[in-house]
Amino acid sequence: MALDVFAPWDDPNAKPLIQFQNVTKRFGDFTAIDDLTVDIFEKEFFALLGPSGCGKTTMMRMLAGFETPTEGQILLAGEDIGPVPPNKRAVNMMFQSYALFPHLSIWENIAFGLRRDKMPKDQIGERVEEMLRLTRLEKFARRKPHQISGGQRQRVALARSLAKAPKLLLLDEPLGALDKKLRQETQFELMDIQETTGTTFVIVTHDQEEAMTVASRVAVMDHGKIIQVSTPDVIYEAPNSTYVADFIGDVNLLSGKADPQGDKLHMHWAEGQPAVVGSPLEGATKGQDVHYAIRPEKVSISAEKPENAANAIQGEVHDIAYLGNISTYHVKLAGGQIIKAQSANNRRISRRAFTWEDKVWLSWTDTAGVFLER
């Protein structure tokens, strides 16, 4: 039995929960969001990823109601939410700084939103206890925010924003203040909570690893535009531009002239080097400028020239970055270009096959990399 894959974005009949329709936001002369259109579906874990200043936070603040679009509209379940003030939206936000009320206990912080809704007292109590259980904070209910650790504060902020059972939860760099180990644990916790509650999550982050881990879909942003929206594996394996390829993970980028030959595309990219061979780029004509992106882990490194490899280049080991589990070799070609190749360290370091200034061969198959137009 095949698993039912969660992919409403591929279903033409699915109704999106949130629709950005040609939304533009300007602050004076500065355009933070530039004619942006995107759909987010119910129960999605949607990540907005980009460098600082790319407009991802502005998008989130427009969803929360702290900013209104200059042009275009944002629909939540089919209704334009432009004129709805933040306190009347079925949207809650978890702030980057957590924004816990320092004068209230953890319990009161979580109950804050419920009390504003004039919920009966006993129901508030039940709901708060439920949230405390969900975030494993039962023991800390009576403490004040400054009496608990950073990780616990993060969970309080999450519990508080989930307490009102919003249609949409916004998370602004939710894990930014945590150290790496705690961050990784919390990422999985976040995914679990998202699945249990069935809430739609929109997360803003500049950490690509975080976005890849938690999100069902990732939107890579730059200068107020979404460059690519897709599932993490597509973003990684089939980026639509050198910007996306470069932003997500480590990559070798080569540029040259296209030369279609049969069902393969060749790219002449450097004097004295063999052409790069790969799957064709649609519409590429002979002589057109194209780019080639290949991930370092897809480049093999060997002492002898491998037979039958679609791509093979000779170079010299220039630098080795030893990361414990893997090593990244920076290989210098005859023309001075550097290509990175990664290999798993399944042997102890003393038995490493290559060292500085060794002559080596780099090779990869004709499907390992992608050609890009821009």
């Binding site: 929360a64 109601g65 933040p86 306190n87 936000m93 924004a99 009320f101 504003r116 809704d117």
Partner: protein, 295 residues
Amino acid sequence: MRRLLIAIPYLWLLALFIVPFVIVFKISLSDLAVAIPPYTPTLDIAEGWAGFKAFLAELDFENYIWLTEDALYWKAYLSSLKIAVISTLLTLLVGYPIAYGMARAPEEWRAMLFMLVILPFWTSFLIRVYSWMGILSQEGYLNQVLLWIGVINEPLVILNTNIAVYIGIVYTYLPFMILPIYAALEKLDISLLEAAEDLGCSRFSAFWLVTIPLSKQGIIAGSFLVFIPTIGEFVIPSLLGGSRTLMIGKVLWEEFFSNRDWPVASAVAVVLLLILIIPIVLFQRNEQKQREADQ
């Protein structure tokens, strides 16, 4: 070296507070005399131990009993308390919006606004109070302007009433209210207000549920800084207040300089100090709490 450093504030306290207080307390236990100084007994060290014993025997609490017998004194204490409480509330009402506006002003304006608040301190306090007489008197600027606009037909009688005293106190002590509240509001993280709105608060309820509680320490500090000196205030009621404005500071002055009754005046001062110890201790506690909260 460390002991020396710790000793400095204690020496300061001893020389400028404990010693004067002991002297005043001693005078309050003495009797009125037509002499220089105008009280007996005075300690004659030359007579040694016997002289000291005789000196102690002559001290008594007569003047304190007198304070309870004449209604003037407790009425003056009560009236001072009332004026201090009302003017503290008025100062808070005027000062809070100013502090709030300063804390929300663009960053580059704040230094200038801060300067404007403390600028009046550059002029003599006495001159500033005198100029209020020029503003508030029946022929003063305020009445002239109001008559000219046509709001009133008869000049208002403000000077030499309690209203003038309130105006004077609010004006004089306003910076002491503004600065601590400003300090508290400036630290306030705007995202807390956004979080409150996000969770369903209106702007007003966010202010009431978040801004006010988080500026509580500033409100308390400012209120004490106004309340404590106002109780003993002497210059403002005597210049702006009328003959019916009864404040303990004025009574104290009259006992000292009009009646030349130093012992009773000292007793009045000692009781005033005892009354003030309560709010001062509370103030200290508040400061302590704030310091702990900041850590």
